[in-house]
Symmetry: C2
Subunit: 171 residues, 2 copies
Amino acid sequence: MALGRDYHGQDCGMGRALEVVGERWTLLIVQNAMFGVRRFNDFLTRLDIPKAVLAERLKHLVDYGVMEKRNYQGSPPRYEYELTERGRELWLPVYILTGWGQRITDKEAPRTFHHAECGAQLDEAGACPNCGSVPIEKVEMRPGPGPKRTDPVSRAMNRPRRLLEPIVREQ
Amino acid sequence: MALGRDYHGQDCGMGRALEVVGERWTLLIVQNAMFGVRRFNDFLTRLDIPKAVLAERLKHLVDYGVMEKRNYQGSPPRYEYELTERGRELWLPVYILTGWGQRITDKEAPRTFHHAECGAQLDEAGACPNCGSVPIEKVEMRPGPGPKRTDPVSRAMNRPRRLLEPIVREQ
């Protein structure tokens, strides 16, 4: 059944949040940007979605101030997408939802998340058990025991790395 | 563009989470259950969505163990829906996304959220600034300064109340 994109008539911030990040795949795009994916083709490699869907989702995120689009090559023109402050503020819901979804699978996690300064694994709410709240820039992602994708972008993530650090594909 | 409901090929918990709660309106249904809505017609009153969409979303949430369906009246049969433990675990992402969405509107919040035991307003991450993490059962919702819906279910929310406490409509 068709439903409009917006949530007119809802009185709370959740309706607004879903207008911006509630479309299918959008939170996975935001999550991959947190993992360091910036280039259109790298998002495509990680997500297996049609180009037109990815382009539409990225444009929507740029329009709503969640990502910035930047030209990084002139000829042919190539763009990368980086999370704004507003986009980085989605870290905790992305982290907590990811953990929640992982717990209802029968698999182990492909990646674990740690406080870069003390090494402790973040708790279910995204805090460091030793030091309290951790900004996204201070989170280190490490390969976990669970199964992982084998595409080149996923492989480039497969070492300990800070969130937001740009992915460099193997050549 | 049509996209399947599932996220086969994604290696992380976010794909799974979105399979369960990523459909349009689903997180608003979960949020309203946290606010105390339990009955089909009360969800309908708050959300202005077609009955068939609401019924499909509730069935999906029951199928995935996020809500339980319970018969509360025999003839005609009537059902209510209550969050399971798995569903209540979505409190923090729901709270944080709601605050994030609120901050990108130009309106004040219709409701504020407090630690019931000390009265302090929760911070952006859903913790009490005095006491630390707060389970959903210990959160008190209070009417905020922003505009509110005027339907009977929304009016019944319009006093300080604990989350999960069942809504009783005005007669």
